[in-house]
């Protein structure tokens, strides 16, 4: 066999059909007799439902039925993570609505147009209630309560006992109140589901075609909610047009679609609009962080205190829980920090429930720490690079357990930093920056650095894979991950080709269908290559072991002497003409009534911790406040790289979304809780024109926790990029006395900060956090139930 494919730029095998427009999405399915659904959504952020009259809508042309909660009697929505069990949500609101966009009724019609036209005929009486939009305001003792029986708007919260004492050893303390703003997931394809009822005489009781990143998890939830045997439910994810954490589980609208299909014994379909997507798909980030870093005057960190408020939105959305989970777990970052105290609150607001978005709690941790480090550098008049290097954990310290209980596998944090600075030409950039300041140019240069570590492949689960050889000699992979653009078909086929000597084009790939793959964890938390790929590797190894035994029998040799030849045949070592092709062996096994294949459930030795360094170069127009990203250098270390092109693609996409959070995106609401950025005219997703050229590279520090040595890459560049850009903008303004600016860095915000600093009145980055943090219960000893739960 020629040299290994692994580590080479193999072109993606899944692209031709996508590029030719032959992708198949849920909305492309043709289903006879399908009912089209549309949802009547609440225009109020908080109100009592006093009456619903559906008669006019029912009588409208093409309408088959109109249902409210009382008609369908559906089980509560089960979120990916439960923050508070007493904040249950029913798929259609019953007596109260808690955010704008919450479904109240559903119209089922013979066409999508008929369903949409009938929506406004549903007559609903609302009695508006006081609204809480801001998570800090939600903590006030007299704030309107979303769930009166809770006693407050705190869905969850806990603190470490130590508190301010962790800063006792400090000579200098820097503090900031940091907003990690709410962002929308914005997959190009929104939610979509088509439910086809089956029955006892058919293969399945129900078949669900759905745009999801985890079909098996959705099957589990659907089976439990509707009382089916799991094996009687088939879930299929066809092509999925992006998910980014937003497509986990059975959503409220999904459950209603299932309910309507069952009620009518007809297929039912729901495909959401863009505005619906921006209102109802869980939003991400949405944290307010009160963070304090203690240091000695030489820049050595002595302690870190964090009080982090996560915005759950309505119904204790699980994104708010990240403040207690992954953000806490990753709070220590890449640094040696002797003492750490952390408190987290997940608060209820009358806004869209929050959930996972690319990074899910870890970008917030990195942004918090990286901002503090830069504040400290400014305070101590140090270079941001030097202060980082002074505090890095050293390569010899791994494996390393952090103060928050994360078990870091491997790391060499200066490695990507050194490379990123080299690629950036750091010294030259500093010289150019100084030149512009000296010339009093209104357009300044900013150079921002971030060094991060994150957690991937966590959650404790493993992954299933099988590899079988058909009688024509082709291999078929079946795997429990559910790729939707990440290049799994390519990467996993490369592993099989490498292990079995079967050409890439003779490897078939099966995923995302619970009828064809028995179990699986789906795709999220940057888990797929390290878990799914490792499972494919293990199954291939087992298959080869079996094949050698079977070939040995037929070639009358010892299994130890069977080797894979350069032509990809199973031959006897030292006997050139004694060999079998894979097809011959598969046929021989079939003749004996067997099947040439192997499967496995791979379990890793723990989560992995990718890391990296980003350098952002921006121009800041001090007169208009406009920020232009000029360059972005991303050096991400995801362990061993299988296909550099695919890794680069993840870095590009990740950095684009991270840069965009820094500069443009912000999902916002008015004081009444109406979303004011619910269209793509107002919600600014990144486009090619404003993205700088991305300069990506990798260092490769392997993990010992899986056979590939691979760590996740899907979210790394999102995590690394946002703080680099934020730090770059503030770096440009450092000499003016501007210390902090919240995200996104809009022209108006930047201009105001420059003006205030020029007037000798710079905005203070700190104010005392809400008193609610002091009243939280103390976190119990031992591992937190939320620890290492970074599976989205």
């Amino acid at each position: 066999m020629a040299g290994s494919l692994l580590g080479t730029e193999v072109r993606r095998v899944e692209d031709p059909e996508l590029l030719r427009g032959r992708g198949t999405y849920v909305d492309n399915l043709t289903l006879d007799g399908v009912l089209h659904l549309a949802f009547v959504r609440s225009p109020f952020a908080h109100a009592e439902l006093t009456a619903i009259d559906v008669r006019a809508a029912e009588a409208a042309p093409g309408v088959v039925a109109v249902y409210t909660a009382a008609d369908l009697d559906l089980p509560p929505v089960k979120q990916f993570m439960e923050v508070n069990p007493s904040c249950a949500r029913l798929p259609l609101a019953t007596d109260r609505v808690r955010f704008v966009g919450e479904p109240v009724a559903v119209v089922a019609a013979e066409s999508a147009v008929a369903a949409a036209d009938a929506l406004e005929l549903v007559d609903i009486d609302y009695e508006p209630l006081p609204v809480v939009v801001d998570p800090e305001a939600a903590l006030a003792p007299d704030a309107p309560r979303q769930f009166p029986h809770l006693g407050s708007n705190i869905a969850a919260g806990e603190r470490d006992a130590e508190g301010a004492a962790v800063l006792d050893d400090a000579e200098v303390v820097v503090r900031a109140r940091l907003e990690n703003q709410r962002v929308a997931v914005v997959p190009l394809e929104g939610n979509a589901i088509a439910v086809v009822p089956g029955g006892p005489d058919e293969d399945f009781d129900v078949t669900i075609h759905v745009s999801t990143q985890a079909p098996h998890a959705l099957r589990t939830v659907a089976a439990k909610a509707f009382g089916w045997e799991r094996d009687r439910v088939r879930v299929i994810a066809p092509h999925v047009g992006g998910a980014f954490g937003g497509k986990f589980g059975l959503s409220a609208e999904h459950a209603v679609t299932v309910g309507v299909a069952l009620r009518h014994g007809r297929p039912a379909k729901w495909v959401e609009t863009r505005s619906e997507n921006l209102q109802s798909m869980p939003h991400g980030r949405a944290q307010v962080q009160y963070a304090e870093l203690g240091l000695r005057r030489d820049g050595t960190i002595t302690g870190l205190r964090c009080r982090v408020l996560g915005d759950c939105g309505a119904y204790a959305g699980f994104g708010g829980g990240f403040a207690l989970g992954p953000t806490r777990v990753m709070a220590q970052g890449v640094y040696r920090i002797p003492r750490l105290s952390y408190a987290g609150i997940a608060a209820l607001t009358n806004t869209t429930p929050t959930g996972a978005f690319r990074g899910a709690g870890r970008p917030e941790a990195a942004a918090m720490l990286e901002r503090l480090i830069d504040l400290a550098a400014a305070e101590l008049d140090m270079d941001p690079v030097d202060i980082r290097r002074r505090n890095f954990l050293r390569p010899g310290e791994f494996p390393y357990t952090t103060l928050t209980g994360a078990h870091y596998d491997s790391g060499d944090y200066d490695l990507p930093l050194t490379e990123a600075l080299r690629l950036a030409g750091y010294e030259d950039l500093r010289a150019e920056q100084a030149r512009r300041i000296a010339e009093e140019s209104p357009v300044l240069l900013g150079i921002g650095v971030s060094t991060y570590v994150e957690i991937t492949g966590g959650g404790g689960g493993g992954e299933y894979a099988s590899v079988t050889i058909d009688q024509d000699g082709t291999a078929t992979i079946a795997v429990g991950t559910s790729g939707h653009g990440q290049g799994h078909a390519t990467s996993f086929s490369m592993i099989v080709a490498d292990e079995l000597g079967i050409p890439l084009e003779s490897v078939r790939f099966v995923q995302s269908d619970t009828g064809r793959v028995p179990r699986g964890g789906g795709t999220g938390g940057s888990r797929s290559l390290q878990l799914g790929g490792s499972a494919v590797r293990r199954a291939s190894e087992e298959l080869l072991r079996r094949a050698r035994e079977l070939a040995a029998d037929r070639l009358e040799a010892s299994a130890d002497d069977i080797e894979l030849t350069a032509e990809g045949r199973l031959g006897v070592s030292g006997v050139p003409h004694a060999s079998l092709s894979w097809a011959e062996l598969a046929r021989a096994v079939a003749e004996d009534g067997g099947r040439l294949g192997a499967d496995t459930d791979f379990r890793p030795e723990g989560a992995t911790f990718p890391f990296g360094a980003h350098v952002s170069v921006v121009e800041v127009d001090t007169e208009t406040g406009f920020v232009r990203p000029l360059r972005h250098i991303a050096v991400d270390d995801c362990g061993r790289v299988l296909n550099p092109m695919i890794v680069r693609g993840q870095q590009h996409g990740g950095a684009a979304q991270g840069i965009s959070q820094a500069l443009w995106e912000h999902m916002s609401f008015d004081e009444d809780g109406n979303p004011v950025t619910a269209t793509l005219a107002d919600y600014l997703v990144p486009s090619a024109t404003e993205m700088p050229t991305l300069e990506t590279a990798n260092t490769e520090t392997e993990t010992p926790r899986n056979p590939l040595g691979a760590k996740g890459i899907g979210e790394s560049a999102t995590i690394g990029s946002t703080p680099a850009v934020q730090n770059a903008v503030l770096d440009a303004l450092r000499h003016l006395g501007v210390r902090h600016l919240d995200l996104p860095l809009t022209p108006q915000r930047v201009w105001r900060a420059v003006r205030d600093a020029a007037e000798g009145n710079p905005q203070a980055p700190w104010r005392e956090p809400p008193g609610a943090f002091d009243e939280l219960p103390v976190r119990g000893e031992g591992p937190s139930p939320a620890a290492e739960e970074a599976a989205v």
Partner: protein, 292 residues
């Protein structure tokens, strides 16, 4: 909702006379957004994309060189075909939306919507454009300065359609600039256009998104006419540029909204005014024979 599809201008005018409530639609980049969000629900749409007469531009035979730009000519053609003759309009057209939107959107549509944030309005004001409107009763020309009557309101009678815009060819430097959260695909926080006419020692300046209607900054124009050292080569004094910026800011009547505060708009317009004046003046210096 009826969808009317005239194929000639006469048919279109007859339809508009018969159905004054029909909303004209050309590229649809404004109208479709409003329909999609249910901000309006007209009794009928009058699709003008089939009217060939509207999609052409021509140059008058006189020596003064006036362009008659049909209301249905998309921005892309303004940029590629008229960039040399109408530089200010082409600059503004380049900042509209994305390539796809520039392929569909039209100056006529911008006028029909009359949004204070429409990108081309400040340029039409500073170039002395006249809006040609027609009805079954006849045709008239409305100076751009009289066209905008209120927020999203214009001087059209219910039976009239915008058929063209008449713009003099540039006789001096023209500039356009805007500020937004990003450069493309975003509604401007504020915008500014400037035209210098060295032969007449005159200047025109206009603002967008900073008052109920697009408007000229008349005091700032007068200041430039009097203070610009028209015949003298060399860069402009900083104090002159600053004062011009202040006068432009004083001409605004901005509001606080989700895109920006009034204070920021006022400030940013002063900056845009200073900068565009610098660029236009430098441009003028390069053209001027005394520098050659």
């Amino acid at each position: 909702m009826d969808f009317l599809r005239p194929t000639t201008l006469d048919e279109a005018l007859a339809a508009k006379a018969e159905r004054p409530g029909a909303v004209p639609i050309a590229g649809g980049t404004d109208v479709m957004v409003e329909l999609n969000f249910d901000h309006r629900r007209p009794e009928a749409l009058l699709d003008l994309t089939g009217v060939g007469e509207l999609a052409e531009w021509s140059r008058s035979s006189g020596s003064d060189g006036e362009i008659r730009l049909g209301a249905g000519v998309p921005y892309t053609r303004v940029i590629t075909e008229l960039g040399g003759r109408l530089p200010g309009l082409a600059m503004a057209s380049r900042t509209v939306g994305s390539p796809q939107i520039r392929n569909r959107g039209t100056v006529g549509g911008n006028l029909g919507s009359a949004s204070p944030a429409g990108d081309t309005h400040p340029v039409l004001l500073v170039t002395g454009a006249r809006v040609e409107v027609a009805s079954v009763r006849g045709t008239r020309l409305i100076p751009a300065t009289e066209f905008y009557t209120g927020v999203k309101r214009n001087a059209l009678a219910p039976d009239e359609l915008v058929t063209a815009v008449h713009l003099p060819e540039a006789t001096g430097p023209q500039q356009f600039a805007k500020v937004g959260t990003r450069n493309a695909m975003v509604i401007a926080v504020c915008s500014f256009a400037l035209a210098l006419d060295p032969d007449r020692a005159a200047a025109r300046a206009a603002i967008g998104s900073a008052a109920p209607t697009p408007r000229r900054a008349v005091a700032a124009e007068r200041f430039l006419a009097e203070e610009l050292p028209w015949g003298t080569p060399g860069p402009l004094r900083d104090s002159l540029k600053r004062r011009f910026g202040e006068l432009v800011a004083e001409a605004t009547e901005p509001i606080d909204d989700v895109r920006g505060t009034a204070a920021y708009r006022r400030h940013a317009l002063a900056v845009l005014a200073r900068r565009t004046l610098t660029w236009a003046w430098n441009d003028q210096q390069e053209r001027s024979p005394s520098c050659a």
